[in-house]
Subunit: 232 residues, 2 copies
């Protein structure tokens, strides 16, 4: 079976995308970035997921994206937004947006696909229950597909990597149900943008809110461990 | 005037692109990568060029691209091709090709453009006198333009960065003549893929051959310092 590069952050979506790629029979090269994110603990979660689901290997690439600035996700001196309503998420790109992050991740994925001779690149973006990031939208994914068809030696030689975004039109609840079918252990994932040192989730950032709502809508218990607070 | 991000390697093409961007009146943010290239001395050349031409600032970003492998340009244990004829360069992608390099560089340029609120991104690729790299071709640049129009917050807000490749259809001789008009001091540039420790060029790699032929066709002396050898 063909090899696939899978972008793996350690959250629900990318873990489910990895499970789908593996179930599709691919030999999967998981790819995670340490980019100065405040929730760097997600890199450990990605390692647990890659091992548990059976990725062939797991590359962790350290890149100085946070140093460029422009995001509360990489600037620990600024708070991340909390308590945003779904309508607000759909309307306004939040301060946790990291400039050009998915383009940078996908560009590295192109390089890894070239080196591993992978015919597929999986990414777990969803444009349904999401934070309004520009580089998670279907039209963005389409544009990257067109670029990938031209960008590399393998593309020129007739083997352009196919960009696969299997969750693009799924709600968080649908993603979770699919992952459960594929035996993803979501207790190993980390979604929170602002976990404490013990790795407990804040429960109120966009990512926690989307996760909690997803499990609720799926009618399933959320195995994440949350920090104690007034709401629980 | 609008700000511009300019990808600057320290060679002839990107230095000329910077001169064109500055002459166009842009406030220029030069961007150079230390990516494990064997000719890392080009980063110093880029610094000299950025200062001399008057870039507003110069970011040098260190990225672990060489560690991924797949190129003799980042693997010092393998030789770079020497003495290739123009026809061969046009026909065959050489081992100095670095997987997805321009896509990675342009992805970072998108991030810097977002942070600096730049409306333009300049890159000095040419598809005339070049080594046959897939990510220097006009169709590749077009595809990246389409991606850039969708990828960032500023794009969504109505300010997509314009990708400008002013040298795309120029020969090396034409590029050099243009640079001379704009007072680029080519003695400050480094083209060679395999310079010695003193920074002297090998004279025989693709990049040296293209440079030497360019100056010859332009009828101008090449100010590069070459290593002593049988041919000079």
């Amino acid at each position: 079976m063909a090899d696939a590069v899978v972008l793996l952050s350690g959250g629900i979506d990318s873990s489910t995308a990895l499970a789908i790629a593996i179930r599709s029979g691919h030999c999967c090269h998981a790819l995670t970035f340490r980019y100065g994110q405040r929730h760097e603990l997600e890199v450990e979660a990605a390692g647990r997921i890659a091992r548990t689901l059976g990725a062939a290997d797991h590359r962790i690439i350290a890149i100085p994206l946070g140093e460029l600035g422009g995001s509360t996700l990489t600037d620990r001196s600024a708070p991340v937004p909390r308590g945003r309503e779904p309508e607000e998420m759909a309307r306004q790109i939040p301060s946790t947006y990291v400039p050009a992050r998915n383009t940078i991740f996908l560009a590295y994925a192109l390089a890894v696909a070239e080196i591993t001779r992978s015919d597929f690149i999986y990414l777990g973006v969803s444009a349904v229950d999401y934070s309004g990031y520009p580089d998670c939208r279907p039209e963005y994914v389409e544009a990257f597909k067109d670029l990938a068809a031209l960008a590399t030696r393998r593309a020129v030689e007739g083997w352009p990597p196919q960009i696969v975004a299997p969750l693009l039109h799924l709600s968080k609840a649908q993603i979770i149900r699919k992952g459960i079918q594929l035996a993803v252990d979501y207790s190993l994932t980390l979604s929170c943008y602002d976990p404490d040192e013990a790795g407990r989730a804040c429960g109120h950032c966009d990512s926690c809110l989307l996760r909690r709502r997803g499990f609720s809508e799926a009618g399933l218990p959320d195995p994440a461990v949350y920090q104690p607070g007034p709401e629980r």
